[in-house]
C-alpha cells in the first residue's frame, strides 16, 4: 500500500467522456490493500467501465460486506455513496437499498469468504430474487484480513502458504449463481483487464441480477505454488469461452471480427452485447448447457472465463413486485397515507 496522497490536479489533456468527466472523476481514496493485489486491478476495471459508460458517479450506490474486497468501494467512485455492511450480508442491504430507489445503479462488491462462506445463503437468495445489480465477487480463495485461512472457494487439494492442504470441496459461485436464477453470469480474472472491463459494462447495463466472479490472486497469502488461485495457475488454466464487446446503443455497432462466430444479444435498455465465440460448442444463452460445460471444465482443472450465461428477457425484482416508477424514497404523505376518511371507514368495518 502507499501512503502518498493523490494529487488533486491532473493533466489538462486527460480525455473526457461524453458527460465531461475524466477517469480521475471515477477514482476514490488511495487503496490500502497490498501492492499487486488483484482487487486493485478490479477497481481499475470498474473505474474504466463507469467512465466509458458515461455514468455520473453519484448515481451509483456501492455496497459491500466485510473483508479485503469489501474495503475496495472506498477506492473508486469517490462521489458515490458507499455502504460497508456486515459480513456476508451485503445482498440483503443491497436489496433494501434497491427497493428504496430503483433509479440508481447498484454495485455489490464481495469476496469469497463474504459470499461463499458466511454469506452463501444471502448470495443465493439475492440471485433468486433477481435484484437489479452488478455483483462482483473478488475471489482469491483465502481470508486475507485474518491472515491466510482457506475460504469456501479454495479448491480441494490446494495448499495454503503454511503448507496445509484443503480437504473440503469448493463452492463454485458461478454454478450457484446459475442454479439460483441469476440472469447474467460471468467469470473473469483480475489479471485480464481486456476481458473484465467489457464484462463489467455489460453487467451494469443488464436489467437484472448480474454476477461476475473475478479470480483475484492474493499476493500476500495465496500466490504460491500449490495454490489454484495464484496468478501463474490462473494464467495457465484460463479457458475463455468468448470475448465480449459492449455497445451502449444500437447504432454504434461497427466492429471487425476476424475469427469465430459472433452472437448479438440485445438488452432491455437498447444496448447490445456482442460475443465473439472462442469455443464453437459454447452457447451463453443456454443455462443448462452452461452449467454442464462449467462442470466439465472443472473436472479437467480448467477455469472457464467469459460471459457464461445471459438471459436476454431478464426481469428484475421491481417487475416481480409490480412497484411504481417513482422511487419509494421520493413518495410523501400524499402518495402513501390514505387519510382520516379512509380510516373512519376502516373503523366502521370493525364494529
Amino acid at each position: 500500500m502507499t501512503y502518498v496522497l493523490k494529487p488533486r490536479l491532473h493533466h489538462p489533456t486527460l480525455p473526457k467522456n461524453k458527460i465531461g468527466y475524466t477517469r480521475r472523476d471515477y477514482e476514490g481514496k488511495v487503496s490500502t490493500l497490498c501492492a499487486g493485489c488483484g482487487h486493485d486491478s478490479i477497481s481499475a476495471a470498474l473505474i474504466q467501465a463507469f467512465w466509458e459508460l458515461d455514468i455520473q458517479p453519484h448515481r451509483v450506490a456501492k455496497l459491500s460486506g466485510i473483508g479485503c474486497s469489501s474495503k475496495t468501494p472506498d477506492y473508486f467512485l469517490g462521489n458515490s455513496h458507499g455502504f460497508n455492511t456486515v459480513h456476508g450480508r451485503m445482498p440483503s442491504a443491497l436489496t433494501g437499498a434497491n427497493l428504496a430507489n430503483r433509479e440508481l445503479i447498484y454495485l455489490g462488491v464481495s469476496g469469497d469468504g463474504d459470499s461463499a462462506s458466511i454469506g452463501l445463503g444471502q448470495f443465493a437468495h439475492v440471485m433468486r430474487r433477481g435484484v437489479n445489480m452488478t455483483y462482483i465477487l473478488e475471489n482469491n480463495g483465502v481470508y486475507g484480513l485474518t491472515k491466510g485461512q482457506f475460504s469456501a472457494t479454495a479448491d480441494q487439494g490446494s495448499k495454503s502458504k503454511r503448507g496445509a492442504v484443503n480437504a473440503d470441496a469448493p463452492v463454485d459461485t458461478v454454478s450457484v449463481a446459475l442454479l439460483m436464477g441469476a440472469t447474467f453470469v460471468a467469470r473473469s480474472f483480475s489479471g485480464d483487464k481486456q476481458q473484465l472491463t467489457p464484462l463489467v459494462k455489460a453487467a451494469i447495463a443488464h436489467q437484472g441480477a448480474a454476477f461476475i466472479d473475478v479470480i483475484s490472486p492474493c499476493v500476500a497469502f495465496n500466490n504460491h505454488p500449490g495454490s489454484t488461485k495464484s496468478y501463474d495457475y490462473v494464467r495457465d488454466h484460463n479457458e475463455a469461452v468468448n470475448r465480449l464487446d459492449f455497445w451502449p446503443t444500437r447504432e454504434a455497432i461497427t466492429v471487425d471480427y476476424t475469427e469465430g462466430g459472433v452472437i448479438e444479444v440485445p438488452q432491455h435498455d437498447g444496448s447490445i452485447i456482442k460475443l465473439r465465440k472462442l469455443s464453437a460448442s459454447y452457447d451463453p444463452t443456454d443455462r443448462i448447457g452452461a452449467q454442464d460445460q462449467i462442470a466439465q471444465a472443472a473436472v479437467k482443472g480448467e477455469v472457464l472465463t467469459g460471459l457464461l450465461y445471459l438471459a436476454p428477457d431478464a426481469e428484475d425484482l421491481h417487475a416481480h413486485l409490480n412497484t411504481c416508477a417513482v422511487p419509494f424514497n421520493q413518495l410523501g404523505e400524499k402518495d402513501l397515507c390514505p387519510g382520516a376518511g379512509t380510516l373512519e371507514k376502516i373503523n366502521a368495518s370493525l364494529r
Binding site: 455513496h81 427497493l99 428504496a100 413518495l331 404523505e333
Partner: protein, 613 residues
C-alpha cells in the same frame, strides 16, 4: 350447591380441537355480545400446531369493560375429550360444564360442586347431516345456538353476524342459520334456565372497534408511510406482515397505473429481513420488519450496525414466551432487555410499549418519525396477547394535517447553498447529525457508511478521540430521544397513596381492574404506565415520590425493573417486582393478590375501608 348467577359479567371458555372449525363459531359467539352493547375480551389459547392438538378460546363478557384476563372460568364448553379432566377441574365452584352427552359418561368424570349441562350434539348432527365435515362444522354452530338460547343472546344479532360472514355465499348462509336455529330451539325446549349466566342489552361498547393488535400495527405502518416490509414467518408476528400485505393491496395500489407503492419481501431468514430494512432505511425509504424474540436474536448484528452507522429502522417485536423456542404460542414481555441493548458493544435502543391495538396503530406510525428523526432503530414491543387477539379499543385516529418527520436530511439545494456536511457532525447540539441520501449531489455530500469507527466526517478512523466523540454523541442523541418518545401516563389513586406501581404494554387492562379491586379493599396505589424507553424524568420522579413502587411485568427476571435501575439510576430498594410469566396473560386477580400480600407483609394493613394504605 350455590350456582353462579351473573348478568353481563362472566368468563366462558371453549375447549376445542385445533383445526375443527371451532374458531369462527367461537368468534361469532363473542361478537354477538358486542352487537348487544356488552364489551367482551376474547383470547385464543392455541398450540404450536395446525391440526389435532387442544386449543381454547376464552371469552370474558364484561359490561364494566375490564378487558384483561380475569382468571377462573364460569362456564366451560368442553368439546375436547383429550383435555376433559383439566377442563372440568378449571371451572369455578358453582360454575357450569356444557358438554356433548351423546355418549353417557360415568359420574366419576364430573364434579359435585359444578352444574352439568348436557346436550346430544353428535346425535343431533348425525341425524341431520350425512357429510362428516358438515357434522363437525355445524356441531360448533349448534352449540353457539344452544348457548345463545340459554344465556339470552338475541338471536337476531347472531343471525345478522352469520349473514355478514356469509354475504354472497348463499349456499353456506342457509345451513349455518339452520344449525344455529336448531341449537337455539333445543335449548329453549330442553335446557330452560340451565345456566345462571345471562345477558341483556347494554350500552357500554360505544364507538369502540374490535381488532387484533397485529392488524392495527400493520395499519399504523401503512399510515406511517412504510414502503418496504421484509419479514420471516414467526409466531406471533406473521399475521402482522400478512395484514400489511392485505391492507396495502387495498390502499396502496396506484389507481391509474395499477402499480404498487409498497414492496413486501418474505426473506430467507431474519438476518436478511433486517438487512433489507437497513438497506432501505439507508437509502431513504421507510422500512420495517415484524418478528418475535428468536428473530431479534438473529437480527442483533445488523441492529448494532444501524445503531452505530445511524440508520433508521423500525422493528416490531410481537413477544412470545422465551428463551430459545420457548413457548411460541404463549405471551410474555421477556424481550425488553434484549431489545433495549440489542447487539454487541455499547448499544441502546428506543423502545415503544403499546397497551392495545389503538396504540399499536398510533405508535406503529410514530415509530417511523422517531426512526428518521433519531436515525436509529426503533422497536415497538407488542406481544401475543395484544397482537393475536381481537381487542375492543378506541377507534383509530389520523390527523390529515400530520406530516411525516423525515429528520435531518441534507438536500441537493442545501449542499449547493454551501452548508457544511459532516455525516457524524453534531451541528445542532442534540446529538443528531445530518445525513444525505445516495444520489443527492454530483460532487458534494457523498460519504462511506460503515460499521467501523470513523470521525465526524465519516472517514475511517481508529483514533480514540474520534471514537469517543461519536459514542458520546450517541448518548446525547439518546437524551434527545427522551423528549420525543411518548410520555408515561399517570393514573392517580382516589386517595393519597404511599405506593406506586409501574406497568407497561399488555398488562394495562388487568392492571386497571386490579387497581379498582385494590382500592375497594383499602389499598390505594398511584399507577404509572411506561410507554417508552429511554425513560423520562417523570418516571424517576414518580419513584422518588413513593415509598415503594411495584413494577408489574410478564417475565421472570424483572426486565423493566433492571432497566429502571440500570438506565434511570433508580434505587432498586424502592422497587418491588410483581412477576407473571407462565405464558398466559396476566390477570387482575393475580395482581390484586400479589400486591395485597406484599402490602400486608409490609405491615400496613388498612385499618378501615377508604383509608389510605
Amino acid at each position: 350447591m350455590k350456582r353462579i348467577e351473573a348478568v353481563n359479567d362472566f368468563v366462558i371458555k371453549f375447549a376445542n380441537v385445533n383445526g375443527s372449525g371451532s374458531a369462527s363459531a367461537n368468534e361469532l359467539f363473542a361478537k354477538s355480545f358486542l352487537r348487544m352493547g356488552i364489551p367482551v375480551s376474547p383470547r385464543n389459547i392455541f398450540p404450536s400446531n395446525i391440526q389435532g392438538l387442544p386449543t381454547w378460546y376464552e371469552v370474558r363478557v364484561t359490561e364494566k369493560g375490564h378487558l384483561g384476563r380475569r382468571g377462573g372460568v364460569d362456564l366451560m364448553v368442553a368439546m375436547n375429550p383429550q383435555t376433559w379432566a383439566e377442563d372440568v377441574k378449571e371451572i369455578d365452584p358453582g360454575g357450569y360444564l356444557f358438554y356433548d352427552n351423546t355418549k353417557p359418561l360415568p359420574p366419576s368424570r364430573f364434579r359435585d360442586d359444578i352444574q352439568v349441562v348436557g346436550m346430544p350434539l353428535t346425535e343431533i348432527c348425525n341425524a341431520t347431516y350425512t357429510d362428516s365435515r358438515e357434522r363437525q362444522l355445524f356441531k360448533n354452530i349448534l352449540y353457539v345456538g344452544a348457548l345463545a338460547g340459554m344465556m339470552g343472546v338475541e338471536p337476531e344479532v347472531i343471525a345478522e353476524l352469520i349473514g355478514e360472514q356469509y354475504k354472497g355465499k348463499e349456499k353456506l348462509l342457509k345451513p349455518n342459520l339452520n344449525a344455529f336455529k336448531m341449537g337455539l330451539d333445543y335449548a329453549r325446549n330442553h335446557l330452560k334456565d340451565a345456566i345462571g349466566l345471562k345477558t341483556k342489552r347494554a350500552y357500554a361498547v360505544g364507538d369502540k372497534i374490535f381488532i387484533e393488535g397485529n392488524a392495527a400495527a400493520a395499519l399504523g405502518c401503512l399510515y406511517g408511510g412504510a414502503t418496504v416490509c421484509a419479514w420471516y414467518p414467526i409466531t406471533p408476528s406473521s399475521s402482522l406482515a400478512e395484514a400489511f400485505q392485505r391492507s396495502c393491496s387495498k390502499l396502496r395500489v396506484d389507481k391509474d397505473t395499477g402499480k404498487n407503492k409498497f414492496a413486501i419481501i418474505q426473506a430467507e431468514d431474519e438476518l436478511a429481513s433486517i438487512g433489507i430494512v437497513v438497506g432501505a432505511g439507508w437509502n431513504g425509504a421507510r422500512a420495517f420488519t415484524a418478528t418475535a424474540g428468536p428473530g431479534i436474536s438473529l437480527m442483533s448484528e445488523f441492529i448494532g450496525l444501524a445503531y452505530f452507522a445511524e440508520i433508521p429502522a423500525v422493528i416490531i417485536d410481537v413477544q412470545r414466551g422465551g428463551p430459545s423456542t420457548g413457548m411460541p404460542t404463549r405471551t410474555q414481555q421477556s424481550d425488553v432487555m434484549k431489545c433495549a441493548y440489542a447487539s454487541h458493544g455499547d448499544t441502546k435502543h428506543v423502545l415503544l410499549f403499546p397497551e392495545d391495538p389503538y396504540e399499536c396503530f398510533e405508535m406503529g406510525a410514530q415509530a417511523f418519525d422517531l426512526a428518521e428523526r433519531l436515525q436509529t432503530p426503533v422497536f415497538m414491543m407488542t406481544d401475543l396477547d395484544i397482537g393475536m387477539n381481537q381487542r375492543l379499543c378506541n377507534p383509530l385516529v389520523w390527523d390529515d394535517a400530520r406530516r411525516y418527520d423525515r429528520g435531518k436530511l441534507m438536500t441537493e439545494k442545501m449542499l449547493e447553498a454551501g452548508m457544511e456536511f459532516g455525516r457524524y457532525l453534531d451541528v445542532d447540539g442534540d446529538g443528531i447529525p445530518y445525513r444525505t441520501l445516495p444520489g443527492t449531489h454530483p460532487t458534494k455530500g457523498a460519504y462511506f457508511t460503515r460499521g467501523t469507527s470513523k470521525n465526524a466526517h465519516a472517514m475511517y478512523s481508529e483514533a480514540g478521540p474520534d471514537y469517543v466523540y461519536n459514542m458520546q454523541r450517541l448518548l446525547k442523541k439518546f437524551e434527545t430521544a427522551k423528549t420525543l418518545v411518548p410520555k408515561p401516563v399517570l393514573t392517580p389513586s382516589k386517595e393519597p397513596a404511599r405506593f406506586g406501581c409501574i406497568y407497561y404494554g399488555s398488562t394495562s387492562p388487568a392492571m386497571h381492574e386490579a387497581l379498582e379491586a385494590l382500592s375497594q379493599s383499602g389499598i390505594f396505589v398511584n399507577a404509572l404506565r411506561v410507554r417508552a424507553f429511554p425513560f423520562q424524568d417523570e418516571i424517576f420522579d414518580f419513584v422518588q415520590s413513593h415509598s415503594k413502587v411495584f413494577v408489574v411485568e410478564q417475565n421472570r427476571d424483572a426486565q423493566l425493573k433492571t432497566l429502571l435501575v440500570n438506565d434511570a439510576g433508580i434505587n432498586p430498594a424502592s422497587l418491588i417486582s410483581v412477576l407473571h410469566y407462565d405464558g398466559e396473560p396476566i390477570t387482575a386477580r393475580f395482581i390484586t393478590k400479589e400486591i395485597s400480600q406484599i402490602v400486608t407483609a409490609l405491615n400496613v394493613r388498612p385499618i378501615k375501608k377508604d383509608k389510605a394504605a
